[in-house]
Amino acid sequence: MAWTDTKLGLLWRLEMRHLLRDRRALVAAFLVPVLALPVVLWTARILESAGREQVSEEALRINFDGAAALWVEQELLLELAAATTVSDPWRAVEVEDPFLALAQGEVDLVVQGRWLGDPPSAPGSPSMDASSGPEGASLQLFFRADQGRSNRALDILGEQLSEARNAVRHGLLQQAGFDLEIDQVMALSENDLASGGQVAGAQLGRWLTLAILLFVVLGGSVVAGDTLAGERERGTLETLLTSAVDRRQVVLAKLLAILSFGVLVAGVQLLNLFVQLTWVMDEPPSYFAVELTWGRLLLLAVLFLPLLATAAGALLWISGRSQSYREFHFYLLPLAALVLLPTTAAALPGASLERGWSLLPIANLSLAIRAVLSGHFASSSLLVAWLVTAAVAAWVVSAAMADVMSESRLAGAERRRDEVLLQPFERHVGIWFAGFWSFIFLALVHVPLLSGFIPQLLLNLVLVCLGGSWLLIKLYGLQPRRTFALRQPPGVLWPLVLVGAPALAILNGAIYQWTARLFPVSRRALESVGLGFDTDRFSSLEILALVAVLPAICEELAFRGVLLSGLRRRMPEPQLCLVVGAVFAIFHFDLARGLPTLILGAILAWLTLRSGSIYPAMLWHGLNNALVLWSGRHVSSTLHPVVYGAAALALIWVLNRLRHQPRTLRGASN
């Protein structure tokens, strides 16, 4: 019996047939990948050749302003151009107002010059007197860095002026009795041993993984959204579940469909690159002119497989957890960030597989792909990287399938949230927190007294977190023990907190370094992460109390207590954790620290839901802050990649244990 005649084969064919008839899937998974690369390649080529032609056809326009500048142009630059037989890429233009012309794009460069002493007596005969020869000329170049032609004019003229200056120096040396040719003095020549293809490979390798995986996630999201979330919304999932087929096969077929589209998207991209560079383009743009053979193409395809499996598993997971397309799209952006962010490792200077990066999943394969494209790689490093990410992919796929196959996910066994009758507090809690945030923001902006650390601490933690929580408890007549989850947690959670808090602090440190590049902060601020105030004024115990203990108590009561309690019946568990994490991050007023704070907040919310108690979250929060404070003083900003790998594994272990912890506080549909 053929594979397609088995039940799994029948299900897979059904998925594929149904998806391939969806225009959105076709556009996202086939048309866009087919067209994207040729469009990019041909656009790059056209721009590159157009740039060359523009330069050669339309010479750069340079204005020489002032007697010294005109003298240098006439006596040195034109002579140099004639001597080197290089075609002159620029021409001198005269304008009335050079700076206005530069601003309006009529001139690409302005050279302003004046004599420091007397002008030279005779052209071409430099004097020994530094104040009366060409060597006495002072030149200033004015350009616009925001205009390509201006930059190019600066490069070209700068190089020519450099040569001219060397010639003048040489003349002076000869006059002084040093009978040397220029190339006899510290002769210097540049020799690039890398081929053009290797250089292009290293450049393209920085972004290729990110670009292809981006297409995979986008194309795969159309497919994944349609398979489980879409089927649930349409009602076809119920039809399938009442058929004589095993649930595992139903879910596996959906995973295979998502993976098939991922393979299709990535395969089309890689094959497109190969075909375009090998057969279609005679002269590919320099950035893309990689040396791609069938062997390397196959190796790239193998390296991409664990990445595709990870993306497919993650997409299946969020689709299985979503009741509708809308909910699926809510989870899509965080998921895309989680999968795509590590691939930017290939663009980081200094990152390479030989330096321990091979232990960081996803990031390691982006580095491996860069290494293969540049033709400089060790097979053992590639193998380790592949195995690490393949192990993570296997875990993501198996965890996703186990979760999605559960009755509550697949059959929607639990009550839907629209059946939940919300209390006034639950309806209003979001508005209250928006009000608290606005209050802090306005107070910080308008009250100069709050510029110090202690006043801010009092405002945020004592007045808003504690005071605001107390206000809501009183106003809505809530039970403090229930609202704040003041219960004894299961004992097994304490070790998880002790492992999880340092692991997350380490990883969040790396994420902060990363996001700080996107939202630049000063080096001083980067180094003082976790301190935020003058530590000399306080003893170590006072600092610990102010930075670790107080926020751990006050912020947890507000965010994992009141906010979580108010929202937990309104949305499913993952969405709930993300929202609580996002609100927690917004209250920290720090763009660069936004993502780490969001992750911390979301995990603390999950911990509270799973433990049924706020105490583990308080301990985790306090430990986190203490560790960040301590690392800011004692640890260098970047740790060895092995440490990050170990922290990632430890955190995965903790989260996995937490996942199997019975839920004590329940969300709306959980």
Partner: protein, 284 residues
Amino acid sequence: MAWGGAMTENVERMQQSRSEPTEVDPSVKPMPIIVAELRRAFNDPSRGRIWAVDGIDFECRFGEIFGLLGANGAGKTTTLRMLSTVLRPTGGRILVLGRELRKHPLAVRQNMGFYSATTALYPRLSVRETLEFFARINGYRRDRVGRRLAYLIERFGLQDYADARIEALSTGMKQKVSLARTLAHDPPILIFDEPTVGLDVLAAQDLLEVVEELRADGKTILYSTHIMSEAERICDRIAILHRGRILACDALAGLREQSGKHYLEDIFLHFVRHGDRDRAAAER
């Protein structure tokens, strides 16, 4: 037992041997469906643990239409979803054609066709592709699928639409395809969960006629509804389900006799009010 009707020999035997795996005597032709002490709880965030189905017993006999009659939220759909193995029971047992449902879910589904307002069709498949897929996925022999499809397409008058996509069909045609899909693998047992919800009078009439024809073909049908006239018209026996419990189960004549009322609506109200009163008294 929640209702006073006679429990069949099979059910009694099954309940007596609850601690052991049930094996029905092979010499006795097994009953199509036997449900005993079936329970299902849900966790509700605001109300805690709720028993949607709270210990119900009933049986479906060969060639009959057995009706589950109840208001919205009575537990009809939960019961039928457990019978179709979409939901796992919290307690109790279900036997389908003598087989324990928990142990043989695939075999049970292979002998069952499930139709409800929520079982939709794949919009981008054609009618023929839909029927072929569901016949084959439910284990219908490949070499016989062609003949089965031809029969179903003719029976439901789908000749002109056989290669049209489902998304291009009218609501009435979709309903016919959905019925054909339920019968694609020719199952001996059919479950209809509120099948006329959302249909106009004519479409509902057509569907009821099809259900009656299927009974004439010898199918065993479990039919849930909250519409009294439907149950009165087509059901051979009716179980009145309220708040997860069966309050009465008998043929219409028997229910009339037990309640002293003539119309099914009055009978239904009689049992529901008595049931509520008894429950309140028990809770006190």
